[in-house]
């Protein structure tokens, strides 16, 4: 789940990174966590998708208008901030069976490559590290808007992707609880002019 969340966040950041932009928009954007969300859903008992979210994360997007190949996305998620609306379940998710938050308090994503697709979405490939394991993942991101907020430049986007948690060693309950995690990210990022 954490991986999915991390990926979603990454995706959103990447989407921002890939937005059509002017030279003034070049620079580093910080994720506005108050207006952003990293959520996930996972199949339970083959019957229903159970949702959750990470309440704490941060990250930055570096836009480089002269050389888009130098665009970057860097995301950190506080795994102990996982929230599914049930305290006992959240405890279990924080424990060694799932995110092992005391030994692995962070999940990170670092982009390596961003590509514009024919449908104007972006494919962002990067390294997702969780539970001490790193896997390369690709996120598909769509931009939802940008705005000149006076002193700030604001961009927004959302992305969704699916990851296999067992690839990161998180295999508890596979069978009852899905291996595939759908991660959705809604991200708003801000840069001072």
């Amino acid at each position: 789940m954490m991986k999915k969340l991390t990926l979603s966040l990454f995706s959103a950041l990447l989407a921002f990174t890939c937005l059509p932009a002017t030279a003034a928009e070049t620079g580093e954007y910080k994720i506005d966590t108050v207006h952003s969300a990293v959520t996930f859903q996972i199949m339970h008992n083959g019957v229903n998708y159970v949702p959750g979210r990470f309440n704490k994360f941060d990250g930055k997007i570096v836009l480089n208008m002269e050389d888009p190949a130098k665009n970057e996305l860097d995301i950190n998620i506080d795994t102990a901030s996982i929230y599914t609306g049930n305290m006992k379940r959240d405890e279990h998710l924080k424990g060694p069976d799932f995110f092992n938050t005391k030994q692995f308090p962070k999940a990170t994503f670092v982009s390596k490559n961003i590509k514009l697709n024919e449908d104007e979405s972006y494919s962002v490939t990067g390294d997702l590290t969780m539970l001490g394991k790193t896997n390369t993942v690709t996120l598909k991101i769509k931009m939802t808007g940008k705005n000149d907020g006076g002193d700030d430049l604001i961009v927004g986007g959302w992305g969704e992707f699916t990851l296999k948690r067992s690839l990161f060693g998180m295999d508890y309950g596979v069978g009852k609880i899905g291996d595939d995690v759908i991660v959705t990210m809604h991200i708003q990022a801000v840069k001072k002019k």
Binding site: T33, V34, N55, K56, S81, M87, E91, H92, K94, G95, P96, D97, N100, K102, Q103, G132, G169, D171, Y172, G173, V174, G175, K176
Partner: protein
């Protein structure tokens, strides 16, 4: 009806098969067809039965651990096997304290260092690790001392209870895999209890206490340091609970019928271990995070 893969892994491979392994090794190793014969190797067989049975459970539940270990749980399989070896050695040379004592101290030190060490940093680390090591070694010594006067099945029952409630404590604290392994250890010791109760000539001597000192302690330390809510004092209560069986020696109890003495001792252990485990089901409410401002 097909068995769900998750249930198959947890119940059949993680619980049923390990208990079958323990029962088979005890039956063959103890030569159950000669129930009245006591053999010098009985404690060693008991130790290996527990080690091999629990190893099957650890592998079924956690999978093969990576080498080198990535997380503290990855050491559990090797700790279980080491407990079997040490229990076997100390069971074989029961009266040679110069062999068993250094072995025990080193084993406890290694378990504490591998389990709690990674999260205990800074100037206090040596006090924490040293203190935990001495505390566990002291409880091990006291349990050994107590077991010399207790009927052996009663002694094993107290250790099985602590292992089972230790598993429950870490389960309630947010660690289902370790919780189940604790439960399997408790049930495996329960089989040993039954075997000892049915065949009084057989002896397990220090084997169950070795698993208590090395494996139950490892599970509880993992709970305290890595689960979400297993308070150290609650884990300590579970860990020392077998010593509550000492009520068996109290003057007021001594003159009761044997079954009542057993019942009182069992109840004392159950209450102490039960309180320690139950506490883990009531974590404090997490404070609401309002560190981020809000605005348009």
């Amino acid at each position: 009806m097909a068995i769900d893969a998750f249930i198959f892994q947890l119940v059949v491979l993680g619980l049923g098969l390990p208990l079958l392994v323990v029962a088979l090794i005890l039956a063959v190793g103890w030569r159950m067809w000669k129930p009245s014969v006591e053999r010098h190797s009985d404690p060693t067989i008991a130790s290996w039965a527990l080690a091999l049975g629990l190893s099957v459970s650890v592998v079924a539940i956690q999978g093969w651990p990576p080498v080198p270990a990535v997380v503290t749980n990855d050491w559990l399989l090797w700790i279980v096997l080491a407990a079997g070896l040490i229990g076997g050695i100390t069971g074989w040379w029961q009266r040679r304290a110069f062999i068993s004592t250094p072995l025990r101290m080193v084993a406890v030190g290694v378990v504490v260092y591998l389990t709690a060490g990674p999260l205990i940093q800074g100037a206090d680390a040596i006090w924490w690790v040293g203190g935990l090591m001495l505390a566990i070694a002291l409880v091990w010594l006291l349990i050994d001392f107590q077991s010399r006067g207790l009927p052996e099945p009663l002694s094993v029952f107290s250790l099985a209870t602590a292992a089972g409630f230790g598993g429950m404590a870490v389960l309630l604290g947010g660690t289902a895999k370790l919780g189940q392994i604790g439960g399997v250890l408790g049930l495996a010791m329960g089989l040993l209890f039954l075997a000892l109760a049915l065949f009084p000539a057989k002896k397990a001597t220090g084997a169950p206490a070795t698993f208590h000192a090395l494996v139950t302690s490892c599970l509880l330390l993992n709970g305290v340091w890595y689960a979400v809510y297993v308070p150290l004092w609650a884990a300590a209560l579970v860990f020392v609970s077998p010593l509550a069986a000492s009520v068996y020696f109290l003057p007021g109890i001594k003159h009761l019928p044997w079954w009542l003495r057993w019942g009182v001792a069992m109840l004392a252990v159950l209450i102490l271990a039960g309180i320690g485990a139950a506490v883990c089901n009531f974590p404090p409410e997490a404070p609401v995070d309002e560190s981020h401002g809000y605005g348009y």
